[in-house]
Every structure is written in structure tokens, then in C-alpha cells.
Amino acid sequence: MNFDLTNDQKMLQDQVKKFADSVLAPVAPDIDKSAEFPRDNIKKMAELGLLGIIVPEEYGGAGFDYISLAIAIEEISRACASTGVIVAVNNSLVGYPIMQFGSEELKKKYLPLLCKGEKLGAFGLTESNAGSDVAALETTARLDGDHYILNGTKRFITNAGEAGIYVVFAYTNKELKHKGISAFIVERDTPGFSLGKHEDLMGIRATANCELIFEDVKIPKENLLGKEGGGFKICMNTLDVSRIDIGAQAVGIAQSALDEAVRYSKERKAFGQPICNFEMVQSMLAEMATEIQAARMLVYFAGYCKNKGMARFSLESAMAKYYASSICVDVARKAVQIHGGYGYTKDYPIERIYRDAKILELYEGTSEIQKIVIARELVR
């Protein structure tokens, strides 16, 4: 048992923290307000290697492990939740399935583009009528000679408006249910592929969240990711990984809420003394700090399981994502409470953090889905 970070993890944490504090944090309020995608910062992050954290060096990545991924996403999200998810999606929802399931050609073609930020990634799974219930997908892909013909609409897709490479799930054979779902790599400029509605979100507002519309989109056969019908497995395995960094995102956002709450409670005076002297405030701060540390341990542990090469770690990653996102929302709520009425104004960052936090319980598997995953692993 060893809780020490390795030398490279320590350095990564140090440098990402500094970068996040001085480059990402200053623009976080602005891009929340304008919902403008932080292109310049994404470019800077690409230069540092933050868009391909876990991708091997030979494909243009940095070749780090999954705990490092969590550390980086936590630090980024602490400074800016929008940027946190933009980077998380690129790394684990797009980079990961390509590196794990893609053919050598696909890996060579797409991974360097993703890692260098020349083309960003987006993950096209959710639809209007299919989110938690993956089998309810309506998007279809029909084989026609050398091509698949893709039809359907995806909704709530992070990075959609700015991406160049999309991992899209569609039925190649609806009768086979789960086993009839396949995953494809779709490029942005493919004819018939357009963007739909841009979502005006409550939080993580700068994430270019849009609909993807596919109308008879011809995808070359070689852009099938893995085997035909292997999409569901790719999807589940990818979500296991992405839950590590969504958990990390939750830890980062919660940490920023705690930092704001501690700062405010030391500055704000009531009844002649700083409110941090009051036990009910202290009680909240203590709960928040403890929950965050517990969540961080769960996230690191899920990363550790993946590092070890465990084939299945759905239990661990679902626990990490479920717990971290729940406490994140709760920590943000308490942080607002500590701020009192000021926390309800846009004058304080906690208002934004509170809005950003809620998404954690919703995307990449709602908390309810996580609990189902956990429970099924227990009784299986």
C-alpha cells in the first residue's frame, strides 16, 4: 500500500495546477458568461500534451497512466469546469476507444490529430430518446459496398460544435439489440453531416454542446471502430474509463467550491467575528473536505484498477463517478450556503461552480445508472 504519487505524477500535478491557475482560471467566468469555446486555451493545452494524456507516445500522446489522467482533469476542472470536460472527452471518450479498439490505420490516422489538438474529439452516443437506455438508439448505419450509410440525430454532445473527429454509435442490426450496435469514426466535413441546435446549458456552458445530424452520411468501411456489432462493448468499456475522469472532474469542481467557501468564511464577518469561527460553518467545511478526499481516493482507486489492467472495473469506476458527482453537488450547495445571499449572486464564483456541479450527476451515466451498475456487480 502506497499513497505517494510517483515523480512524474507529482510533476504533472505541479505543472497542470500552475497552468490551470494562471491560464484557465482567469477566463473561466468569461467563458461561462459568453458560452464561448476556449479555443486559445485548448491550443495551449495541446502543446503541453493535455489532449492525449493516456495515448502512447508513438501516436503523439504523452503516455501517462490513468491516475495521472485523473490528476490532470481534477486540476483543470478546479480552475474551469467547461475546460475540464472538453479535455476529458477528448482524452477518454474519443482518444481512449480509438487507441483501445481502433485498427492500426485508424490509430495512426486519428490519434496524432487528437493529441495535437488539430482536430478535437466528440462522443456521439446520446439521443433525444436514448441516453441511459442505450438500446433505444435510433441512429442507424447500413452497409452499402465500401461504405456505411449513417442516419440519425445525436443530442447533448460535448465539443460537437468544435470537433473534427466524432465517435458515433449506431445500429448496424437493430434486431440483435445490444449486439447490433456498432461504433464509427466520423469526420466533421463528411457530406450529409451537420450540426443542429446549440444547447444553452445551465453550467459547463463553454463546451460547444450541439446536436449532430446525420443524413445519408457515407462513412468509409474502415472507419468502423472494432467489429461490427461490437459497439455496445466499446461504449461500456469507454464509459468505465471516462468515469474515472468525470469523477476527477467532480473532485476538481468540489475542491474549487471548498476553496471558495474556506476563503469566504475567513473573510466574512458576522456577530463581530469571521463566520469560520461558527461551528455550523465548521461542520459544513469539515464534511466537505472529508467527502472530497474520500471521492478523490475512489477516483484514484478506479484509475489504479485500470492501470493494473483489470478487464472489468465497472464497479470501481461507477463507485467513483457516483460518489464524486453526488458529493460535488452537495459540496457546491454547502459552499453556496456558507456564502449566504452573496453566493446567489454572480459577484462570486461559487454561483458558477454550483451550476457547473449539477451536470456531474447527469452525464456519462446518471447517478441512478451508476447505482444500477454497482448493484448489478454486487448481485451478479
Binding site: A25, P26, P29, D30, E267, D347
Partner: protein, 327 residues
């Protein structure tokens, strides 16, 4: 020889303030130790300097050569090394300035004399020298004893030893420099004046000055609004310039400008001495800082212990009200 020496600092023909502080400190010590103070002047056309400083020391040791027109620590070191070897003073004082910082450690090391820098206070007792220095960003003081030796060399922080009128009539002694040309390895070329910006902060009656506490360049607009509401100009401390958020010509402090406005409002400035020396001449100083122990509160007349972003909007409104009431 148990004498006290002090180095005269001058630039572009003018004696620098620190010189008077060194000489005043030196005179007091000389009196206490029952010895004499020697002011060392290395310069060119030094008659004016000699006249001005005659009352400040028992003796003026003058090295007049055009090679000393401008400061060059290598030339100073070579010459002072000879002077020190001849006179072996018990204490040699220099300013903790861009000038003294460049010279003292090298000269003292060459001579093998124990030395220390940036002293705020000195105690001399039976050949033992103890000094007080500031450490940890000015938050603590350290009392330090130097290795016992017949002679010491130290640099003094400006603003810590009050300058005073002298009533001496110093004798003048000349010394020849062993060097007459600038060495190739370090040649003084020129002084470059800071570029003149559109705003001259030294001319404004009201300065609203921001430090590290501003957190982000974007927040400057709040400060600018406030400054214009109050009829002032925005200035800043060093970290704001280092971050590239404001131009160098807005910087107050030892490496920036020295200002003497009627009102100086310090926002989120902790009060490192390098900043303090640039603004302590202000008539009224109001400081806003979250840290009740920030050194700025030792310099300010009024203090507000709070987040500057909470103070600014309310204060701006109040000031507008008072203005309206008057108008």
C-alpha cells in the same frame, strides 16, 4: 585601523538618498565607537560632490577619474580592494541598492571579509557585529551575528536609517585608481530611461494602486472605474507588471517610480519594502487587504481588512454620493 567607511552612491551627477542614510548611520556608529567616518567617493569631476558631502564625514577619500563617471562594479571592486587593503576599516557600509548589491558580495569575498546584506538595524559591540534583517517576504525579522573579524562589510536597506544634517568639516584625501579603462568583460554602455507612457503617475494627486490581490487582468476594469470615479489614476506593484497586466511606467516602488500623491489607495498590496519605499511619501495612505498582518498596514494611515472586490463597489457608490451632496 578601527575606522568606519561608507561608499557614496551617485548617478548621473546626483548623490543618491541612500548616501545620506549611510553617512548618518556611519557618523552615529563612529561617535559610539569613538572613531572616525570616511566617505569614499569614486567619480569624475567630484568637486561638487565633495563640497556637498564635506559636512557629512570626517574624511573624504576621493578617487577622481573619468573611468568612474558611471557605476561599474568591476572597476569599483578593483579600486576599493586597494583602498580596503590599505585602510582595513572595522566596518564598510554600502547601500542595498542595484549598486551595492552588485558590488558588496564580490568585494567582501575577494577580501575575505565577513559580510551580509540588506540590514535594517546594526549593533556593534566589542568587535562583534549583529544585524537585523527581514526574511520570508518581510514577514519576520532575523537577528544575525557575523563571524567575528576585525572588519566587516554590510549593505543597508534604504529608508531604515534616517539621513541627517552633518556638522563636520571633512578632510579630503586623494587616491589613485590602479585602472584607467573599462575592462572588456564588463563595460558600461549607457543608461536607458524608462519609456514615457501616456499617464505619469508621479503627477497625479490620487493614485489607486493594485497588487497581487487583483488576481486577474480582467479585474482591472473595476479598479479603473473606481479610479476615474474618484478622479485618480491607476498604479500598481511589481507582480502586476511581471504578469504583464500593466505597463512598467505604472509601477510604484524601488524598481519603479517614487510617488508622493495626496492620496494613495493600496488595493491588495501586501507591502513588500520594495513597494513601500516608492509610496511612503504620500500624504494619506489607505490600504485594503484581506490579511490583517499584511505589512502595508504598518505604513498606511487607514486600513480596511477585507476583500478588495467587496470594498470597491460599495466605496465607489459612497464616493459618488458624497460628490453629489457636495455638488
Amino acid at each position: 585601523m578601527n575606522e568606519i567607511f561608507a561608499l557614496v552612491e551617485h548617478r548621473q551627477g546626483a548623490i543618491r538618498d541612500i548616501t545620506y542614510e549611510l553617512l548618518s548611520c556611519g557618523r552615529k556608529l563612529a561617535e559610539k565607537e569613538n572613531t572616525k567616518l570616511t566617505a569614499i567617493i569614486l567619480g569624475h569631476n567630484t568637486d561638487d560632490l565633495v563640497q556637498i558631502l564635506k559636512s557629512q564625514a570626517h574624511r573624504l577619500l576621493v578617487v577622481d577619474n573619468d573611468v568612474f563617471k558611471d557605476f561599474n562594479s568591476e572597476l569599483y571592486q578593483i579600486t576599493l580592494n586597494e583602498i580596503m587593503k590599505k585602510h582595513n576599516p572595522m566596518l564598510f557600509l554600502m547601500g542595498h541598492s542595484a549598486f551595492g548589491m552588485d558590488l558588496c558580495p564580490a568585494l567582501a569575498t575577494q577580501l575575505g571579509v565577513p559580510f551580509t546584506t540588506d540590514c535594517l538595524d546594526i549593533e556593534f559591540m566589542e568587535q562583534k557585529l549583529k544585524v537585523t534583517r527581514q526574511i520570508y517576504d518581510g514577514k519576520l525579522n532575523a537577528k544575525v551575528q557575523l563571524r567575528e573579524n576585525p572588519g566587516y562589510m554590510i549593505t543597508l536597506r534604504s529608508g531604515c536609517f534616517p539621513a541627517g544634517e552633518g556638522s563636520l568639516d571633512g578632510s579630503v584625501e586623494r587616491f589613485d585608481t590602479p585602472v584607467s579603462t573599462q575592462p572588456d568583460y564588463r563595460k558600461f554602455i549607457e543608461y536607458i530611461e524608462a519609456a514615457v507612457g501616456e499617464v505619469d503617475i508621479t503627477k497625479s494627486d490620487i493614485l489607486v494602486s493594485v497588487g497581487r490581490g487583483i488576481k486577474d487582468q480582467a479585474n482591472l476594469s473595476i479598479i479603473e472605474d473606481f479610479a476615474s470615479a474618484i478622479g485618480g489614476v491607476v498604479a500598481c506593484s511589481r507582480p502586476v507588471v511581471d504578469a504583464g497586466w500593466m505597463a512598467k511606467d505604472r509601477q510604484v516602488g524601488s524598481s519603479g517610480k517614487t510617488v508622493k500623491p495626496k492620496l494613495y489607495i493600496a488595493l491588495g498590496i501586501s507591502g513588500a519594502f520594495q513597494h513601500i519605499v516608492g509610496m511612503k511619501g504620500a500624504d494619506t495612505i489607505i490600504a485594503v487587504n484581506k490579511d490583517p498582518n499584511a505589512p502595508i498596514f504598518s505604513e498606511a494611515d487607514y486600513g480596511i481588512v477585507d476583500d478588495l472586490f467587496k470594498v470597491m463597489p460599495v466605496l465607489k457608490t459612497k464616493i459618488s454620493e458624497v460628490k453629489l451632496a457636495k455638488g
